[in-house]
């Protein structure tokens, strides 16, 4: 088969199993767009901004586990994509981003719409390529997908000069089933002796604790994790990126940990004597000051990326391997010992944890007048039966969604954790809805974040992607305001969202349904209505308490047992103490 560069690209995507790509045309990719137009195996979604393309592909990847694919033009197309590429990089999401480039002969001449895309993206990709020879195009594409999806996943950029895609130059094409790279061989299998040592340490623990993260989700290790954790009966906490891998409604799950984690999860981290970390990377929102982190624990750390291990916190038993393989081996090793954890010892540990749980660190007061943001998320949970795909933006609303929507399955909770990119939520939701048209997809956002990629409402209409936007409208850049309240004596510097658009009218202008909710009493009906309109994008503009804060909170420099707790939890704590239930 003789094909042009453009045709090779599209044929390759088809052979690689890519059904959808997100993109935006321009001069350097015109040949490719022409070839796209002549086929219908690969569906192209025209976004309204290249950032939207990367986030949509990212949401698609997070929900499906398959790589997300984008196509953008040179120069401004490539630079607009950078935020989305960096977002995927920090959360280890497999993306393949094709950027057009000026013709080979013009590279380096400051040509029209020329930027050094490979240079600009170097610091935020797993790897990138500049295709200099048409004969290398197929192999390069194969490498791009291979690198993006294996080992620790990540975004890969393929920069293709315009002449490479010219329609009249054709070469033979054959889809390469396999590729080998001498310089890239991720190790999946954990060291058997280390696994055995880890199992022995686990079994001997008095106050064990599982701490797992995004690596379980990406590594498809949810089933194995559930088996091991349930077999042992140990408590488990998950990071923001790990939620859903172990069911959020399971009693062994004691909530998210870290800066806005539950009181019990953070206290248990502080007190545990054996910490079993799998597929999490000791982010500073988890550890706070590393020297005060888990002071009594011996640490087992399983990660596919050797550089994640002992980077922030020293691991006593490091295990490099994929979460799924290592967990499978751990289960076998556990079986082989024929031993079980000492139930009496474990009961004592659970009693301690239950006493922490009694303090209800997420408690809040929903009065009759003003909608509390937590209530809105709880309502979302009820109306969707806890079974929706939920994306979010960045801010307080993101934390409320993580805290009040317990996910029972992996890949349901989709948010930007590492880069914390406002503007992620709506395009990500589009990507999810495209992958799962029959599922409820909600984007929990704030009036600040939603405006960063609001133009994608237009894409929702064009491609019939009826997502539900749950806007927790507090008229503040709430998360920043909270920090200014706590650490800058309430000097609210440039966080008030004045002159906000009428979101209802705005939604209508984009051809969607807008519903504004002011009163707690109206919330339920509005939410029901929004999800009843199956084939419409609905913008629920919910007026929430302006100065609500996210609790608990670990301030910088503090240890896990030094959380700031909510006024309500302080009250509960005092009552429990007075009644002698808490010592």
């Amino acid at each position: 088969m003789e094909l042009s560069g453009s045709e090779i690209l599209i044929q390759f995507l088809k052979d690689e199993g890519v059904k959808h790509i997100f993109g935006y045309p321009g001069g350097a990719v015109l040949h490719i767009y022409d070839a796209l137009q002549k086929q219908d195996d690969v569906e192209h979604i025209l976004v309204r901004h290249e950032q939207g393309a990367t986030h949509a592909a990212d949401g698609y990847a997070r929900a499906t586990g398959k790589p997300g694919v984008c196509l953008v033009t040179s120069g401004p197309g490539a630079t607009n994509a950078v935020t989305g590429i960096a977002t995927a990089y920090l959360d280890s999401i497999p993306l393949v981003v094709i950027t057009g480039q000026v013709p080979s002969h013009a590279i380096g001449s400051d040509a029209f719409q020329e930027v050094d895309a490979v240079g600009i993206t170097r610091a935020c990709v797993k790897h990138n390529f500049l295709v200099k020879d048409l004969n290398k195009l197929t192999e390069t594409l194969k490498k791009a997908f291979y690198v993006a999806t294996t080992g620790r996943p990540g975004p890969v950029v393929v920069d293709i000069p315009k002449d490479i895609t010219a329609p009249h130059i054709k070469i033979p094409y054959e889809y390469p089933e396999k590729i080998k790279m001498r310089s890239y061989n991720p190790n999946l299998k954990g060291h058997p002796r280390q696994i055995k040592r880890a199992v022995e340490l686990m079994l001997g623990a008095k106050r064990p604790m599982f701490y797992t993260g995004g690596g379980i989700v990406m590594g498809e290790a949810s089933a194995e994790l559930r088996t091991l954790v349930r077999k042992l009966g140990y408590p488990i906490t998950q990071t923001l990126m790990g939620l859903g891998a172990f069911p959020g409604t399971d009693p062994q799950f004691i909530g998210m940990l870290g800066m806005h984690g539950t009181y019990e999860a953070n206290m248990a981290m502080h007190e545990c004597d054996v910490l079993i970390c799998i597929g999490a990377r000791f982010d500073d929102r988890i550890t706070g000051v590393p020297s005060k982190f888990c002071p009594y624990a011996q640490i087992i750390h399983v990660d596919i990326d050797p550089s994640s291990i002992s980077k922030i916190v020293n691991a006593d038993i490091p295990i490099v391997g994929s979460a799924r393989q290592v967990l499978t081996e751990m289960l076998k090793a556990l079986e082989k010992t024929g031993m079980e954890p000492d139930r009496n010892v474990l009961d004592t540990w659970w009693k301690t944890i239950k006493a922490w749980q009694q303090q209800e660190s997420f408690a809040y007061d929903q009065g009759p007048d003003v909608i509390q943001p937590q209530t809105a998320v709880e309502e979302l949970y009820k109306v969707t039966n806890g079974d929706a795909y939920v994306t979010s933006d960045v801010g307080q609303h993101q934390m409320y969604a993580a805290q009040f929507y317990p996910f029972d399955e992996p890949r349901r909770w989709i948010n930007s954790g590492g880069l914390g990119t406002m503007g992620f939520g709506l395009p990500a939701a589009m990507g999810v809805k495209l992958a799962f048209p029959d599922k409820d997809v909600a984007c929990v956002t704030g009036e600040g974040s939603i405006q960063m990629c609001i133009q994608e409402l237009s894409t929702c209409l064009q491609y019939n992607l009826p997502v539900k936007i749950i806007n927790l409208n507090n008229r503040y850049l709430g998360m920043v305001r909270q920090w200014q309240e706590f650490f800058y004596e309430k000097r609210y510097s440039h966080v008030y969202m004045d002159s906000l658009p009428d979101f209802v009218k705005l939604a209508e202008a984009y051809g969607h349904v807008g519903i504004r909710v002011d009163k707690p009493a109206d919330l339920h009906d509005a939410m029901v209505e929004a999800f009843k309109l199956k084939d419409r994008t609905v913008f629920l503009d919910i007026m929430t308490d302006q100065e609500a804060n996210v609790y608990p909170m670990i301030s910088s420099g503090k240890a896990h047992n030094e959380m700031d707790i909510s006024p309500l939890q302080q009250k509960i704590q005092a009552t429990l103490k007075a009644s002698g239930e808490l010592v």
């Binding site: 490979v118 240079g119 170097r122 610091a123 797993k126 790897h127 990138n128 500049l130 200099k132 690198v147 790279m181 001498r182 310089s183 890239y184 990326d305 050797p306 550089s307 002992s310 980077k311």
Partner: protein, 164 residues
Amino acid sequence: MRHIISLLVENEAGALSRISGLFSARGYNIESLTVATTEDQTLSRMTIITTGSDRIIEQITKQLNKLVDVVKLQDFTEGNFIEREMMFVKVKAEGEAERSEVNRLSEIFRARIIDVTDTTFCIELTGSGDKLDAYISALHENSILEVVRSGSMGILRGEKALTI
């Protein structure tokens, strides 16, 4: 502590900037970096001299290994290896006394004079970094016109080799 790390890298455009970019992006020290292709044109050999605590050096080697272009890597520091650096020094030497002094020094250090004019010498010297430093300090400070150093290269002693 000072470490000498030797790498085999894909001979691809961009490989060098990925490696130097890694050091600047993560704030690692880099004392010197040398690179050239090997007998296999698809591979480059690189020697990096860096300093840092054990923890940082561990991260440096892990991060380097993680780069898709890096084929193989070894920290020579603990092992049995040879390290050499090459230097060119151009000195001003006009009077008879000055010229013979330069000649004498070069003999002592086993340096080679590779270019001569009426007023200058260009000297080539290979050795450990310390030796090159010593040679420079032995020269009359005002006589040095320019110094060009290659940065260190390293190789393992004996049969051990860094190959693929």
